[in-house]
């Protein structure tokens, strides 16, 4: 959603459109370097002082044939002078490196969007390959848009006439041409990218020279070519002072777990098996051995969680990272952690399911799996981060709960925030929660399942502690001693104790955040990664005069204490989720409140305007009924 505020003639005699926010998408073949181009554009926007949110869109197949729809890789950024909550519903600007990229993205654009096409790639064969019967740039297909035809490849080659690189290598520089051109269109400085090129390709002076020349050629092309009638001006946002960096959700997750281990005063162990979209956490953590992190790429998902349980047993802050299919495999072991009451965090970066589903697409359909997907009564806490940056805090919260209550905890992220990025204000370390863990060493009166009267946590004992040798396992435990017990009454007591331990966490977590009034016509409830879209939609709805508020849940088990009373203060309660209504099922079952569903299961995040439209329809329907 971008609005043209005003237009005025710039110094060049061209129009300068001033925008509060604007969404740009770069799209090309997976080999075209679109992610890199997007990253550079993003960092520069952040340096200029814009607020922003990004979304990479990777092809599902690793090496889809060039020029096919399956091989299109995209990167979208929304930036502006306002608080930017999402990467944008519909791009205002598209850079299309080939016909496939155009075809794949055409349906998403706002009417009147600017499209920059690489005309060199639009030959007959390439067009036909993706089902265009004629060249769409020429046959009127793009009549609703402002199209700029630029021969990216030809001009790139021309700019590199004197370069010793091969033609193939030269052609690979064309994404820098696109980037340079966009820098001109948005009046951005090139300094950061120029420095980055120097550093990144330091080993190859020819590549540095070529990329530099092509980036500048793109900028100069914009400046000197009359065809570009419009440029944009996007002012800096008002941003809280501090030191900032860029983070993706997965990176913030990794930082959060390393920091949590430091705060706990223990070492971090990760057991993991590669899986999309969680692998980047494994990659990031593997780089940080200096911080005492031990990563273990296990032979399978089960070994990964089992090793983490072994590490927890040894006194470590234990983590396993995965996605939905991996959670299914780990279920039995998670039950073991419930039974042995060891601290463990299982990070589930959700993707589209069921089965292999849509590995590179986002969804929120694992909530019931993580809440109930184990044999027996096996309750555990669930924490769901809301934004890429919030992954940092949610990771720390997950470890805090796991160690304080001696329980496995699910960290429930999703592909959208995992891959999405935003500028992140680096927190002051002193403001982070402190929760140094302690291990039992006192021999006198030791019983493995003696509980802390407040938290009901059992003692954490490290093997190697003299005098505390004891046995634990997956068989039911006798209350207190932890010996194997088949006593029926004891079993029921232990079931209740384990449930009670999780329930008591409700006293130890903050109320759910509510945006808007605390009573009204409609309460929109969401959880996890839909935060940005729901918040932006609620802002629009309220601006349009609707009595709508937004309650967002970061803690899904137990639920914060204000959830039920808040729900009761609204005429309608709507759970908006990227699934078939899983939180809704829980809320209805728990509170007997007629929660309505607003669902989407397309592997895509909510768009702000579709939320606004659907909520307005629900408000209207209710009014009709009561009228």
């Amino acid at each position: 959603m971008s609005t043209a505020n005003e237009s005025n003639g710039g110094a060049t005699g061209r129009d300068v459109e001033v925008r509060e926010m604007i969404a740009v998408r770069f799209a090309g073949d997976s080999g075209d370097g679109m992610q890199l181009t997007g990253d550079q554009f993003t960092t520069t926007a952040a340096l200029v002082g814009n607020d922003l949110a990004t979304l990479p869109d990777f092809p599902a197949e690793i090496r889809a044939p060039a020029g096919t729809l399956a091989g299109v890789s995209g990167f979208q950024i929304q930036f502006g002078s306002l608080d930017i909550l999402t990467p944008g519903d519909r791009p205002d600007v598209l850079v299309a490196m080939n016909p496939a990229a155009l075809k794949a993205n055409l349906g998403d654009l706002v009417p009147g969007a600017m499209i920059f096409v690489n005309t060199d790639a639009f030959d007959k064969r390439a067009c036909e390959k993706v089902g265009f019967t004629a060249n769409p740039v020429e046959d009127g297909t793009l009549a609703a848009f402002r199209v700029f035809q630029v021969a990216f490849t030809t001009i790139t080659r021309r700019a590199l006439e004197d370069s010793p690189l091969t033609t193939r290598e030269k052609d690979r520089c064309k994404n820098f041409f696109a980037l340079g051109l966009m820098y001109w269109v948005f009046g951005r400085p090139m300094d950061h990218t120029l420095q980055w090129i120097q550093k990144k390709f330091a080993k190859n002076a020819d590549v540095v020279a070529a990329n530099t020349a092509v980036l500048k050629a793109g900028y100069a092309y914009g400046e000197t070519t009359e065809t570009f009638a419009t440029t944009f001006q996007v002012a800096p946002a008002v941003i809280k002072p501090g030191t900032y960096r860029h983070v993706t959700g997965n990176q913030a997750t990794a930082f959060g777990f390393i920091s949590a281990a430091k705060l706990a005063g223990a070492e971090l162990f990760l057991g993991s098996y590669p899986i999309t979209p969680a692998s980047d956490i494994l990659h990031e953590l593997s780089r940080h051995k200096r911080y005492g992190v031990r990563t273990f790429q296990a032979e399978d998902e089960i070994a990964a969680v089992a090793a983490a349980i072994g590490a927890a047993y040894g006194g470590a802050i234990a983590l396993t990272t995965t996605s939905g299919p991996g959670v299914a495999l780990k279920a039995e072991a998670v039950g073991l952690a419930v039974m042995t009451e060891l601290p463990l965090v299982i990070a589930d970066i959700q993707r589209g399911g069921p089965s292999t589903g849509l590995p590179t697409k986002t969804e929120q359909a694992d909530l019931l799996q993580v809440m109930f997907g184990r044999n027996g009564e096996a309750p555990l806490p669930i924490v769901a981060p809301t934004t890429p940056g919030d992954c940092f805090d949610a990771a720390i919260e997950a470890v805090r709960l796991a160690t304080k209550y001696m329980t496995p905890v699910f960290f429930l992220s999703d592909g959208y925030i995992a891959n999405g990025a935003e500028p992140w204000r680096i927190p002051d370390v002193d403001t982070l929660p402190s929760f140094e863990v302690s291990y039992r060493t006192e021999v006198e009166g030791f019983r493995p399942y003696e509980r802390n009267p407040e938290t009901l946590a059992r003692p954490w004992v490290k093997p190697g502690t003299p005098g505390l040798e004891h046995r634990i396992g997956g068989l039911e435990k006798a209350d207190g001693t932890g010996n194997v017990s088949y006593d029926p009454k004891n079993h029921e007591k232990m079931i209740h104790l384990r449930q009670e331990k999780v329930d008591r966490i409700a006293d130890d977590i903050p109320d759910a955040e509510i945006y808007g009034d605390d009573a009204g016509d409609l309460l929109l409830i969401g959880w996890g990664g839909t935060y940005g879209a729901l918040r932006a939609a609620t802002m629009h709805l309220r601006r349009r005069g609707h009595k709508v508020s937004h309650m967002h849940l970061r803690h899904l088990n137990p639920l914060p204490k204000n959830v039920e009373p808040t729900m009761r203060r609204f005429g309608q309660v709507v759970a908006a989720e990227l699934n078939m209504g899983q939180l809704r099922t829980v809320l209805r079952a728990k509170f007997l409140i007629d929660v309505k569903a607003l669902n989407k299961v397309q592997g895509q995040p909510f768009k702000v305007w579709e939320l606004v439209d659907r909520v307005e329809a629900m408000l209207a329907a209710k009014q009709e009924k009561t009228a």
Binding site: Y244, F296, A303, G464
Partner: protein, 333 residues
């Protein structure tokens, strides 16, 4: 508790041992309780990790740290423990179903990594806890409740599997060979790296006598080949020996060929020889007991530790502030 003063009693627990009377597991437990005090390791530094099955009840009867985990996953769980706590002596107790069926993947990967674990596999060639189905080591044609017409699938030779998985130490012994069992456990304990010890164990309820040809007085001499590093492969009171014709083993009369002609066992020989030795079986061959292979290579847990220390030596900037400020940052306001 200092390691020097430990006795058998220190390793006994107050739990009633609940194996069937006459089960071979009792004899194995007795040897563990004899050997552990002799290892010079403080009691609190032992951790015994098991999976599921009759054998996996073992940790409850040893007064050390113990963890009775889930079916097949003990090597994986033990790996996480060992990586974080390399100073511990970590033992995995498993059975033929636990280690070779549901947990086969974890076993081979622990061996390949050379994780410093001692894996003791109680092989009784049957599922005992679930009351008598055939196992991955049962002989073809085995009639059990789940195979009333005889089992169809070829069994594993556990040691051959381990050798194929790059094991640095493999040994075989039997429940009723008390002295040999104790010696083998000692050797495993002293090995730096994954040690796989297969213990032939009699399940007197569901598979009684499976190994009597190797363990009973009147029959064992002719069927048991006890191997020792640097010694010729002789059995049957030294009257018979093994020679190799190319890759093919042959039983010969020592009197006929002379002791010098008999193949001499080497624990560090090429793995093909160890494979041949592990796979010797009746009726035409004796079964090898003892340390079949023992070679030194770095352990995974030590390598992890070294990598962490090497990274830490490069810089002492390892607090949260340093972490969050790595890479590109910028100031606002």
């Amino acid at each position: 508790m200092t390691a020097t003063t430990l006795t058998r009693k220190d390793f006994q627990t107050d739990q009633d041992v609940r194996w069937c009377p006459g089960c071979g597991d009792y004899a194995i437990l007795a040897q563990f309780q004899k050997v552990f005090p002799e290892l010079g390791i403080p009691r609190e530094n032992f951790a015994i990790i098991s999976g599921i099955g009759c054998s996996s009840r073992f940790p409850y009867y040893m007064n050390t740290y113990g963890f009775h985990t889930i079916h097949g996953r003990a090597p994986a769980l033990a790996s996480g423990l060992k990586v974080m706590r390399p100073e511990l002596s970590v033992w995995v107790i498993t059975g033929d179903g636990d280690a070779l069926s549901i947990g086969g993947n974890h076993l081979i990967h622990a061996l390949r990594r050379n994780m410093d674990l001692k894996i003791v596999l109680f092989n009784n060639q049957i599922y005992g806890l679930t009351k008598g189905q055939y196992s991955p080591t049962s002989e073809v044609g085995k009639r059990t409740k789940s195979t009333p017409f005889g089992s169809l699938d070829e069994p594993f030779t556990p040691l051959a599997l381990a050798l194929g998985a790059e094991a640095s130490f493999v040994a075989r012994t039997a429940d009723r060979e008390q002295k040999h069992l104790a010696e083998t456990l000692h050797a495993a304990a002293e090995h730096k790296g994954t040690a796989l010890v297969e213990v032939y164990q009699n399940c007197n309820i569901f598979n009684d006598g499976a190994f009597f040809h190797l363990t009973e007085k009147d029959r064992k001499d002719g069927n048991q080949l006890v191997v020792e590093h640097g010694k010729p492969l002789v059995f049957d009171n030294g009257t018979k020996g093994i020679v190799f014709d190319g890759f093919a083993p042959k039983v010969v009369d020592v009197a006929e060929v002379g002791l010098d002609a008999i193949h001499v066992h080497r624990e560090d020989a090429p793995v093909g020889y160890h494979l041949a030795l592990a796979k010797l079986h009746g009726p035409q061959f004796p079964t090898a007991l003892g340390v079949i292979r023992r070679v030194q290579r770095p352990t995974y847990d030590a390598l992890v530790e070294a990598q962490v220390l090497a990274e830490q030596a490069k810089s002492d900037k390892n607090d949260i502030h340093a972490l969050l400020h790595t890479g590109h940052t910028w100031e606002v306001g």
